[in-house]
């Protein structure tokens, strides 16, 4: 093996490939986060609902999704779900980057199941008397959730949600199995083309670590700036 030379992968087209992968990984993370948060909130509210069918639905969704590996989710969305679509929709999907769309679907579902549990325990940590007081003042269920319970739950919920975002960032790497051209996919591509395994994986690892570190710092800053108030 020739000597370690970072310049090979940090210049020319290899750099462009890795950079494109890095950008797509970030985009996957952000889009998934934006879609997963409302879905997770809805699931958490279902699980806390007084109506047992809704609770059952929430439970099934969370347990069903969390107990299946992300890799299987990705393969199912990419290989199986399009078979269930009408022909026109399938053609549209393959014309519009099925790899990325399916990756976002799988990641969103997977992440939201985990986030739902964090949101649920955040909401549960707000004393039930808060909800009762709001209801007694004449707020409906949804307004009292929105104006009274959720704002208090947010402080408790945000730190675990940030750590779920860190998992999400790392999980985007698995999308390489369905050929989504994110960072890990591009790293394999550069490695195959350049035969520079150590350099390629070194740079890729650093890129993953840099964003992970950033998210970790963000969590620390949040907890310092907005600590959980003792109730």
């Amino acid at each position: 093996m020739s000597h370690f030379d970072l310049a090979v992968v940090l210049g020319g087209e290899f750099r462009d490939w890795l950079l494109a992968g890095f950008v797509l990984s970030l985009q996957l993370t952000l889009v998934t986060l934006l879609l997963a948060l409302p879905l997770a909130t809805a699931t958490a509210l279902c699980r806390l609902s007084a109506l047992s069918p809704l609770r059952g639905l929430g439970f099934t969704l969370v347990e069903g999704v969390r107990n299946i590996p992300l890799l299987v989710h990705l393969m199912a969305w990419y290989f199986a779900v399009p078979e269930l679509l009408p022909d026109a929709a399938r053609v549209w999907l393959y014309d519009h980057g099925a790899e990325s769309i399916c990756a976002v679907c799988a990641l969103t579902l997977y992440t939201s199941a985990y986030m739902a549990e964090d949101i649920r325990s955040g909401i549960r940590s707000v004393p039930v008397t808060q909800l009762e007081a709001a209801r007694a003042l004449g707020f409906g269920y949804l307004p009292s959730m929105r104006r009274v319970v959720l704002p208090q739950a947010v402080r408790i919920t945000v730190p675990p949600l940030i750590s779920q975002t860190l998992s999400l960032w790392k999980n985007t790497s698995i999308a390489t199995v369905i050929g989504t051209a994110e960072l890990m996919y591009q790293a394999q591509r550069v490695e195959t083309a350049s035969f520079r395994g150590a350099e390629t994986f070194g740079v890729t690892t650093l890129a993953y670590l840099a964003v992970s570190l950033l998210i970790t710092v963000l969590a620390a800053v949040y907890q310092h700036r907005w600590p959980v108030r003792a109730s």
Binding site: M1, E63, G64, R66, N67, I68, P69, L70, L71, V72, H73, M75, A76, F79, A80, E83, L84, L166, K170, N171, S173, I174, T176, V177, M184, A187, Q188, E191, G197, A198, F201, T204, T205, Y208, L209, S212, L213, T216
Partner: protein
């Protein structure tokens, strides 16, 4: 679906065994449990180092744990895949590659579970053991770790579930575990992806959901037994 099951059930359960290497569901369970069993001692050592008074030990191990936890498992698998053969000087099988990656990765996660478990034991326990004349190692082994182990049990079972799910990444380096076998069957059958992947998903679900329920049951039981235990130690 029943036609598929009739044709492929044995392949799905054990791969090509006994005419070839073990695979399928059996390999997934074997890989997941050996990874966790081997990662446990590593996790205990790293966890102890994380709370050591000796900075020369604490700082590098803390850095290592953070680096591994900030890296995707897939990255660790690729490092193992490309550099284990050079390191050991011989061709490494996919199973050993995957096992090595999982042990390192889970070691770092278990370290945090062990650390939390130990820190969950009241400080007085250590002080008491030391003042009774036990050395640090003996106090750890006979007094702290048994109590910490109890606290850690639900997290350990959950980590086992995570590990079982992580074994599916063996697919990427061509290890014939459950999801790899699933996609092989899908390629052979061609026309039934929904049934095949649905079946793979259900298999993982049964395995992992059963174990998560076990973790939940242990947690409930420990919570119920706690008042009595506290009374004893007081």
């Amino acid at each position: 679906v029943s036609g598929l099951v009739d044709t492929y059930w044995l392949y799905f359960l054990v791969g090509q065994y006994p005419h070839g290497p073990l695979g399928g569901l059996a390999l997934t369970v074997l890989l997941g449990s050996s990874a966790l069993v081997l990662a446990l001692p590593l996790g205990v050592l790293l966890g102890l180092a994380r709370i050591s008074n000796w900075r020369l030990l604490r700082w590098p191990v803390t850095a290592l744990v953070h680096v591994v936890r900030g890296t995707p498992l897939l990255m660790v698998i690729f490092w193992a895949y490309f550099f284990l053969p050079g390191l050991t000087g011989q061709k490494t099988s996919q199973f050993s590659t995957m096992l090595a990656a999982l042990v390192i990765f889970n070691g770092a996660y278990l370290a945090e579970i062990v650390r939390a478990g130990i820190q969950g034991v009241p400080r007085g326990q250590m002080e008491c053991a030391r003042s009774l004349g036990l050395g640090y190692a003996a106090a750890m082994r006979h007094v702290i770790l048994p109590q910490a182990g109890r606290n850690m049990l639900p997290s350990l079972v959950n980590q086992f579930v995570t590990t079982l799910k992580e074994t599916s990444l063996g697919y990427i380096i061509g290890l014939s575990e459950l999801s790899f076998i699933g996609s092989q069957i899908n390629i052979q059958v061609m026309t039934r992806p929904v049934a095949v992947y649905g079946f793979v998903a259900v298999s993982y679900f049964v395995l992992c959901f059963g174990l998560s329920r076990l973790a939940y049951a242990i947690e409930t039981r420990l919570a119920r037994d706690r008042p009595a235990a506290a009374l004893h130690s007081a």
